[in-house]
């Protein structure tokens, strides 16, 4: 499972940018997403996927980095189920 489509959808909504401008390799900074935007986004993604991320602070540069980070938790969740 990949969370990218949901990451892109929520990011487009919070930044008020067209969804088709967000690609896996799009840099977060280029989109205007700062560290606080990402914290908000991850909070909403946790709700969306019913997962709880840990305290690790991965380096998030492009949109796919966020999706990869979420996917780790989705895969863990799937393994448990």
């Amino acid at each position: 499972m990949t969370s990218f489509p949901t990451v892109a959808k929520l990011l487009a909504k919070s930044l008020d940018v067209p969804l088709d401008t967000i690609h896996p390799d799009t840099e977060l900074e280029a989109l205007g997403a700062d560290s606080l935007t990402v914290i908000e986004l991850i909070f909403d993604l946790e709700d969306e996927f019913d997962v709880k991320l840990g305290d690790e602070r991965p380096k998030l540069v492009v949109v796919q980095d966020i999706a990869d980070h979420i996917d780790i938790y989705l895969n863990k969740k799937a393994a448990v189920l």
């Binding site: 909504k13 919070s14 008020d16 606080l36 935007t37 914290i39 908000e40």
Partner: protein, 414 residues
């Protein structure tokens, strides 16, 4: 060093009377109020309570990504501040010199109250185990001041005043001193408040200082100086003034709206809620002394008068203490009869209206004052606005729970 003269080059306001300083003043002159039956945004309601509530969407001034950072009080603040900034002819992309010599002094009683309350609802009502990530930076009392400074690119001092209902009057007064003594060339000063939430309104209700709803005529629910007045009506607002040294304003070729010439601040030091005429008088006298004016120079006084039985009487008494025989010639009005008590924003909102009164030579009335309390025996400009061609100097009073008092004196510039 000779103290700098301090002038006003921009005004901004948003309240239940409307969006924009001109809309607010026009509504105040008309004697109509923005008071309506309170409608809280969520399920829980306080029925039969009046409020000077801003209905409808606020001006669309921030990006969607910024929304989690802006509590309603910060939105109201930026709406007012951006208007004052624009009228002053200043833009947000300040150059280095402008940036370093410009500050923001802001007032709010409870800051991001809606954000804080939403967090409590999440935790204690909805049983969640977490709150929104930006709750701290949206809810903190200096959030609006900081956001305004960032939006303006003002890198001088940013001071936040949380002193109940004098918060924004004090912000303006302290900004005046700041410029006067050369610490900055300009300060965007004012305040904002948005605490029409179930929890905050309930707390005010429990204190038994709120006016009951006039069910037949909700807009008449706040009646300062009237016989049988029932208390204050809570409101929400943002208001701002661009204060600037005369040197800076003239160098920029800015349009000067008025000159701030006096500020007085005091504390009753007697009781946490009960007003004291002596304490109020000290603030007014200090403001007059700083302005170098005799009491009879003041043509109009925008009173604090929130509509409480004790408060309006104490202010009538303190005005008599300060003005003596001149109190009988003084035009006094409480615009709270129309925009309600906007708490931390009140001082700034009423100061903006006072500056406009001076410029228009028109005094807004105390609305709905058709039955004056015999113990309140001064001229409260009842019901209708007055044309006052000779109006040159005005004062605005603000008093607070906790005993603080502030008075501002403004002189016309023409």
């Amino acid at each position: 060093m000779t103290p700098e003269r301090v002038v006003i080059t921009g005004l901004g306001a948003i309240s239940a009377l409307g969006a924009g300083a001109d809309a607010n003043f026009a509504a105040a002159l008309s004697g109509q109020s923005g008071i309506v039956p309170l409608q809280l945004p969520f399920e829980r309601q306080r029925p039969a309570m009046p409020a000077a509530q801003i209905r409808g969407p606020l001006p669309d001034l921030i990006k969607r990504a910024e929304a989690p950072l802006f509590d309603r009080y910060a939105l109201l603040g930026w709406a007012a501040a951006s208007e004052a900034l624009a009228q002053a002819g200043l833009s947000a992309d300040a150059d280095a010199v402008l940036r370093d010599s410009s500050g923001v002094f802001w007032g709010s009683g409870m800051g991001g109250a809606q954000t804080v309350e939403a967090g409590y609802v999440d935790l204690f009502v909805d049983g969640k185990d977490r709150v929104r990530p930006l709750s701290v930076v949206a809810g903190m009392n200096n959030a609006a001041a900081s956001q305004i400074a960032m939006k303006c690119g003002f890198g001088g001092a940013v001071n936040n005043y949380s002193n109940a209902c004098v918060s924004s009057a004090q912000a303006i007064g302290e900004a005046y001193r700041h410029i006067r003594h050369g610490y900055a060339e300009r300060v965007l000063a004012g305040g904002s408040e948005a605490l029409l939430t179930y929890g905050v309104v309930s707390a005010w209700d429990a204190l038994r200082v709120l006016a009951p709803l006039d069910a037949d005529h909700p807009q008449r629910s706040c009646r300062p100086f009237a016989r049988g007045r029932g208390g204050l009506v809570l409101g929400e607002a943002g208001a701002a003034v661009m204060l600037e040294s005369l040197t800076s304003a003239q160098a920029r070729g800015a349009t000067i709206l008025a000159e701030l010439v006096g500020y007085g601040a005091s504390n009753d030091a007697t009781h946490i809620t009960k007003p004291d005429a002596g304490g109020q008088a000290r603030a007014m006298r200090m403001a007059l002394a700083q302005a170098g004016l005799a009491p009879e120079a003041i043509g109009y006084l925008n009173a604090h008068a929130a509509g409480t039985p004790a408060g309006d009487l104490a202010e009538t008494e303190s005005i008599k203490l300060v003005f003596g025989d001149a109190a009988r010639q003084l035009m006094i009005s409480s615009t709270k009869s129309m925009h309600g008590h906007t708490l931390g924003a009140a001082g700034a909102l009423e100061f903006v209206l006072t500056v406009q009164a001076l410029r228009a030579r028109q005094v807004p009335p105390t609305a709905f004052l058709d039955d004056v309390d015999p113990e309140c025996d001064l001229d409260y400009v009842p019901l209708t606005a007055r044309d006052v061609p000779g109006l040159r100097v005005a004062m605005s009073n603000s008093f607070a729970f906790g005993g603080s008092n502030a008075a501002l004196v403004v002189r016309d510039w023409s």
